[in-house]
Symmetry: C2
Subunit: 460 residues, 2 copies
Amino acid sequence: MSAWQTYLDNNQDKFLNDFLEFLKFPSISSLPEHMDDVRRAGQWVMDYLNNIGMENVQMLETGAHPIVYADWMHAEGKPTVLIYGHFDTQPVDPLDQWDNPPFEPTVKDGRVYARGASDDKGGMFTPIVAAEALLKGEGALPVNVKFFFEGQEEIGSPQLPEFMEKHKDLLACDLALSADGGQWGEDQPSLMLGFKGMCALQIDVRGPNLDLHSGLYGGAVQNPIHALVRILDSLRSPEGKILVGGFFDDVVDLTDADKAGFAEVPYDDASYKKDLDVDALFGEPGYTTYEQTWARPTLEVNGIYGGFQDEGVKTVIPSLAHAKITCRLVADQDPQKIFNAIKTHIEKNTPPGAKVTVTALGDGVEAYLMPSDHPGNHAASAVLTELYGKKPYYVRVGGSLPVCTLFKKYLDVYMINYAFCLMDEQAHAPNEFFRLSNFDRGHKAYCMLLHHLGEHGLAS
Amino acid sequence: MSAWQTYLDNNQDKFLNDFLEFLKFPSISSLPEHMDDVRRAGQWVMDYLNNIGMENVQMLETGAHPIVYADWMHAEGKPTVLIYGHFDTQPVDPLDQWDNPPFEPTVKDGRVYARGASDDKGGMFTPIVAAEALLKGEGALPVNVKFFFEGQEEIGSPQLPEFMEKHKDLLACDLALSADGGQWGEDQPSLMLGFKGMCALQIDVRGPNLDLHSGLYGGAVQNPIHALVRILDSLRSPEGKILVGGFFDDVVDLTDADKAGFAEVPYDDASYKKDLDVDALFGEPGYTTYEQTWARPTLEVNGIYGGFQDEGVKTVIPSLAHAKITCRLVADQDPQKIFNAIKTHIEKNTPPGAKVTVTALGDGVEAYLMPSDHPGNHAASAVLTELYGKKPYYVRVGGSLPVCTLFKKYLDVYMINYAFCLMDEQAHAPNEFFRLSNFDRGHKAYCMLLHHLGEHGLAS
């Protein structure tokens, strides 16, 4: 048995106790009254990192919640791996739905219940324990390691771009691992190769300059609701294909290998429909459900409103009608270019008698797509296969994870989602928990991956 | 000078004082605390009718606000004319925008300011004064007259259909005149030949059984907002022509005479557009603005709502989306048949993956259309032409006036809108007023019309 494994086996109780201590900080980043608690949680992490032999441990200021940095750079000739995570948490309301106080961690049936247990204190503490086992058991790490833990992930990391720009050199690395994320299932590993980007906008349509009596003006005046539905209906074909000119120009097509990878992931049309209680699925023709949701860009109206919305009848032709749209983008779509294309399409499709305004909501987010044959994926895949006895699924996610995009943009490295929580752990809800079995497995997984990278490097 | 004219001339101050007394009752039919005031206003009307020599004066119960009835039936061989009006009023809020207390009538610059002055106490008191002048001046009325004044017009006359069904014989007549309504302008008379009917409905579209994360499901699931805009967009052509199958089946087409009549009414495209601040008008091809608004059926979405409607972005695929529609119908469209046609169209045009529910809002109202060559119109036209020195415009109204439809349905008579208020008199707003010039003119107009009908009858 390797020295790190022996260390892990001998210190199970200590790790659990340390974890419970970490969970006690109410480090809620969105609430000003918890500003100091976020910082105290960061300080606890720093103390821990110092104790296990990490070096250059420091708290770096962002202007808001701080970042904790540490490194160990003595693996000469070996890759440098940056490990990302966050020590802030979501708020706890509704508090009365918690079985135990959210910051008094409770162990029950192999699970630790506490706010932040799964997202992401359990996640980020996992590679710390792995580093501890390697440093204490073997006296060294197999690769160079940088820890980068932030305190404002749950509020969207507003200072992160500026921080990364400023600290490029400090953060420079060959590969990044995210200890925030998860696996497909308790017995099934996965590698997430892509996250979608985002482009959000609002459409405001104005018809007449005031609400009109539908009996006096109906039939002669453009109704902005009708104009809006015409605009919105022009954006997609009846089958759900997006009809905006230029929308697909920069889309990276799915390769046969991508499609084959997706096809290995279990999917059942009937139960998908049953879960949502719909009689038919719907989407861009020629693509499977996973291909549609993971790898094809989308355009969805998230909200629509205008005119009379209460009970009963009001015979009005409203002056205004509104809609909100978000597009989920894929590589290599540029959010600004997509916004411009949609704006042009809308202006061209606005019927006479109506005025339209199209406003971007935010700057947009670029999609993230990691090559499936990246050596980091090969390494992670090998380790996960050994640990789970199964090859990982190669999947993507329709949601956005801006931190991946930031790492690519500012540090020019890919980030591998290498974390061990599961989707059912109530991450943002009451009674959040983390499985101790995954805590243990995660320690091993990080020790093994760092060793694998130490042995095989990152040459492709 | 005729005897009725002399009586009118000699009693101007009395009429004004009586009118002001009538206006003091706060007979707001929509407010329970004013139930008794509505009834007291009705009692005042009964006393007045008794004093001037009307007969069979009585208060008839409806189950809610009462109806005042009176008649004078001694013009043997002459037509029976029923005159309709209402003694209830709108509420007064916002009270602080009134220059004078709404139930303390104030005379200023030839106008009487009070709630109900124009709508409809001024209107309904006009034929009462005319009857007084005829009875006191000449000892008789030139035709048989029935007064029918209700106390719940402003809340939609909910008990009226049942009441008219029950009192058919008492209300039987050859022609009805509405003392509720108005003229085109201070110097321009008009005859309103038609009012539109109504069919109102709500569309509820359900997609998935709960709001979904647009990143996880977007692209694979029908979004009920997209389904709704597709449905709504299918209801009308880009030019505004209604595309519902069977919608126009029963529409009475405009005759050349109708079109010629409309064309005599001044209309200016540029100022119409300027008033509404729109760069183009819009509507069913082949029809003028008056033809569209007065004589062609319409379909308008009055309200739409679904999903996220606050500031910013929420990346949701909502479970539900809703729209409210009203159609303004023309003769001889049947509201129930139209509702069924729209429901069928919507169900047929609902995209897969969405469920739709179409619900009627209310029972609908049939349109009212009076033949322009009806002898009642000839009589009214002759009198108005003499009084104003101008022929009346023959117009229609895009709004609904259910009382006309009820008279046609239960009593099988047409109702002529024969009233003298104007559109600018703030009928439902603060500082409602009635022009004393129209009060005087109205008295003459009613005396002259009753005499005309007495002389010429209603034979066509």
